[in-house]
Amino acid sequence: MQLDDTSLAALLAAAEQAGRPLSELVLAEQAEELEQTPQQVYDRMAACYAVMAEGVAPGCDPALRSASGLSGGNAAKMKAAVQAGATLTGPVLGGALTRALAISELNAAMGRIVAAPTAGSCGILPAALLTMEAEKGCPRRACVMALFTAAAVGRVIAKNASLAGAQGGCQAECGSAAAMAAAAIVELAGGTPAMIGHAVAIALKNVLGLVCDPVAGLVEVPCVKRNAAGVAGAFVAAELALAGIASVIPPDEAILAMKRVGDAMHPSLKETAEGGLAATPTACRLRDELLGGGPLP
């Protein structure tokens, strides 16, 4: 079976026509492409999901710190607030924020993660799926399958725009991860293929233009908190789409708009650490402290 993955519209039409979840179509196609059985491909994805799940607990360690000391310990604070019942928005969003921070901080502290689609945005998709499993009772198998839907969305974005901050800014990394997560959430919640498309479009539209401006060039500030914002954006997009709200701009056009915005973005705002937050007085001071002391002779 060949899936037309040049556009999201084609993928979603195929799922609509087959009357099956997009994830099932993608799994069948990938088994053929990788010359493996569907079970083997599923198992490989389940192993990725397991790595994601295993990252939450060490990521919530209050003593966790990155080599630079710029990040770590915030997932623990968020977790404590959720456990105390002290959050404004409750355990679903609170849990998602906790998990996104945990995995992202673990990444910064040289922990084991799954790039999804990148290391800098690695907290968003697992936070969405693990929260659907823990807070909404979705079976683990369904959560693993939803990764195939997320991957299919990511593949369309990679083909028609980019997943790299150096090419498209943060919109291409955390934005794409949020769009992938939104699609996965909608499928898990029983939404239609059309709803998946609207969720992807809404998630991307809401972060269009987001720049990649890492302080001192490190994947920490503002990346970790943008992972929290990313999973929140995924839930916003999924919630709207599941309520039947349509995106006026279709997802494929939103992806192309993201590509054009990324192309138009000044190089200082694409992972070079020369603009945006990376150029603020505080960021420059941190950079000089961290790197000026001679990282390498």
């Binding site: 993608v26 990938q30 492409e33 990788l34 491909v41 490989r44 994805m45 192993a47 990725c48 790595v51 990155s66 080599a67 630079s68 673990l106 990444n107 910064a108 502290a109 040289m110 922990g111 084991r112 993660i113 799954v114 790039a115 999804a116 689609p117 990148t118 290391a119 800098g120 690695c122 998709l125 990764l147 195939f148 997320a150 991957a151 299919a152 990511g154 593949r155 990679a158 083909k159 997943l163 790299a164 150096a166 992938m180 001192a216 060039g217 490190l218 994947v219 920490e220 650490a273 961290l290 790197l291 990282p295 390498l296 002779p297």
Partner: protein, 219 residues
């Protein structure tokens, strides 16, 4: 592009280019040396030099030299482990003209005295290119089994290698040949589809004018 290019790789953070890719460069260098180095001089260029320490690029390259995969949690402690295993590591910044911003140049020595210089760059998402081996230009991805043949630039050598490979029903996915001078030392790199039996390397090594053959398995 398959789904695991999007969901993956499984890796030690924080950066697919500066950490996971760096570990793979170290892993390829170890494989090319054919042994764990006892001495490693690691020159980091560009962004690798500027942000390498914060991204653990130094640890990642040494982890690769120790034979650790990019998702091995021992990567964090690679510098200490190398010290305990008697690997003398020197890491410093280098300026390499015209090189990709994420480039490392590794000068290695094996216990038996053999030396090897490998240059490679990390091009994003954990993908790498090995760009030079002992000063000779190559372009390896280390994603497929690769036959690296150092030979003398003598007419017919390429045909003999190709015939040997074809005789074993192996398909060449990409090919590149560079030479230092006409009639001098040259290197060809053949990236193959599917599994490659080490026997083919021995067969190629037995051909006239072939000086050295390395079969690099995917790293």
């Amino acid at each position: 592009m398959n789904v695991f290019d999007i969901i993956g790789p499984v890796m030690i953070g924080p950066s697919s280019s500066h950490t996971a890719g760096a570990a793979r460069i170290g892993g390829v260098a170890r494989a090319l040396l054919g042994a764990q180095p006892v001495r490693a001089d690691i020159g980091l260029h560009g962004s690798f030099a500027r942000t390498g320490r914060g991204h653990g690029t130094d640890k990642a390259i040494v982890a690769g030299l120790l034979g650790f995969a990019p998702d091995d949690t021992r990567l964090r402690d690679a510098l200490d482990i190398a010290r305990r295993q008697g690997m003398a590591v020197n890491i410093h910044a280098v300026e390499l003209d015209g090189a990709h911003p994420n480039t490392a140049r590794l000068r290695l020595q094996a216990a038996d005295g053999r030396e090897l210089e490998v240059q490679g760059c990390s091009v994003g998402g954990g993908s790498i290119r090995i760009t030079a081996i002992d000063g000779m230009e190559v372009n390896l991805t280390a994603e497929h089994p690769t036959l690296i043949v150092v030979h003398q630039d003598v007419p017919g050598t390429l045909a003999a290698v190709a015939e040997t490979v074809a005789g074993r029903r192996l398909n060449i996915g990409s090919f590149r040949l560079t030479r230092q001078s006409r009639g001098g030392a040259a290197v060809m790199a053949l990236e193959m589809d599917g599994d490659v039996n080490p026997e083919v390397a021995r067969a190629v090594a037995a051909l006239p004018h072939v000086m050295q053959v390395t079969l690099l398995q995917p790293v």
